[in-house]
């Protein structure tokens, strides 16, 4: 793109990079809350490893969004100086950790979606998005495997673990529909081969999740209500608290580093 011309695709591309980046950033923040609190030290390291993978993806995507925007903001400005309404992550990733089963259910739902998304995004005509996907797909495959292993062990485990895992699946189920919402941003970019239309991922995701729940002897919830609005900056109640914790250091000591 030569100087002085504005890419007509830029606003949509900015939004798209931002929403993928926000999903990764906010889930990373949630998972890092487990540091020093996980049931076993091995699991502590596993969950924070996954958090770090997601943080790496978020950095690449937010950095790219900042470049496309061209307003002299950088990845840190986007992560630490936006307010709640400017974040466009899905509701699923901001949901509280709950007990270990809730964290695993959230991981199962999201990593399955992200794995399928990245598998298709690898062939994006946008070089940077394709690159993030190529690196991220191996990470997502591991996150998916980790969540799947635990889902089966908790679901097909003791009476208590099964009850908790089913409760977690039921509680988080209404937040999964939003993963597959496609608005003008995705539709416009998908036409040009830049973005993946998430509605196309739904059937495959449902098959995978139904299989996972079946092998964990769990029941697919029949809840009808679904939660939407994250992509438009409308969030659930717990999100403000997450942002306060994530952003306070940067806001108190702007540009702090060590």
């Amino acid at each position: 793109m030569s100087e002085g011309t504005v890419d007509p695709m830029a606003p949509a591309l900015f939004s798209y990079a931002l929403r993928l980046g926000d999903d990764a950033l906010i889930l990373s923040q949630r998972l890092s809350e487990w540091a020093s609190r996980a049931p076993e030290i091995e699991e502590d390291i596993a969950l924070t490893n996954i958090a770090l993978d997601l943080l790496g993806q978020a950095r690449a995507l937010l950095d790219y969004a900042a470049v496309i925007e061209g307003h002299q903001r950088d990845e840190d400005d986007l992560a630490y100086l936006r307010t709640e309404r400017d974040f466009c992550n899905v509701h699923l990733v901001e949901q509280e950790n709950g007990d270990f089963a809730h964290t695993i259910a959230r991981q199962l739902f999201f990593s399955t979606y992200q794995l399928f998304l990245y598998e298709e995004l690898i062939s994006s005509t946008d070089e940077l998005l394709a690159g993030v996907a190529a690196k991220g797909v191996k990470e997502a495959a591991y996150h998916h495997d980790h969540a799947l292993q635990w889902t089966v062990r908790l679901g097909d485990g003791t009476e208590d673990s099964r009850r908790r895992m089913q409760a977690a699946v039921d509680r988080l189920w209404p937040f999964t529909a939003e993963l597959f919402d496609a608005d003008e941003v995705e539709k416009e970019l998908a036409v040009h081969g830049i973005a993946v239309d998430p509605s196309n991922l739904r059937a495959r995701w449902e098959r995978a999740i139904h299989d996972a729940l079946a092998s964990a002897t769990l029941t697919v919830p029949s809840t009808l209500w679904t939660s939407h609005g994250g992509r438009r900056g409308v969030h659930t109640e717990c999100f403000g608290y997450l942002l306060a914790e994530m952003q306070y250091l940067h806001r108190l000591h702007p540009g702090a580093s060590w």
């Binding site: 091995e42 390291i45 596993a46 490893n49 292993q149 062990r153």
Partner: protein, 114 residues
């Protein structure tokens, strides 16, 4: 007659009884092959409920910095170890058999893994 009354046991603060500490998951020994051509080397141990999870935990705990291309996990209970008391009968007889050591010829610089 006055009986000596034992003082009552200290009252626990109100609240649910502490959860029973379950026996933790079993211990596994982890062996990692650094790269092709080397043998698996003991890296440490960890807890996991079964072999599949032990492999995954080993990946997270011991290969975070690209240390390995292959992992073995073995239940710690399956390891039969020599006892420190048997150190002499086991190892001392080797000490005076210098001819067993390849010290009578020089190795070329290029041979690193001997």
């Amino acid at each position: 007659m006055n009986e000596i009354v034992e003082p009552p046991p200290p009252q626990k603060l109100a609240g649910p009884p502490p959860p029973q500490r379950l026996a933790g998951p079993p211990l596994w020994e982890v062996f990692i092959r650094g790269r092709r051509g080397l043998s698996h080397v003991h890296a440490g141990s960890l807890h996991a409920p079964d072999a599949e999870m032990a492999l995954r935990n080993a990946r997270d705990v011991y290969t975070r910095r690209g240390e390995g291309v292959s992992i073995w996990v073995v239940p710690s209970v399956a390891i039969c170890a020599s006892s420190p008391d048997e150190k002499d009968p086991f190892f001392a007889p080797a000490a005076d058999k210098v001819y067993r050591h390849p010290t009578f010829y020089t190795l070329p610089e290029e041979v690193r893994q001997m």
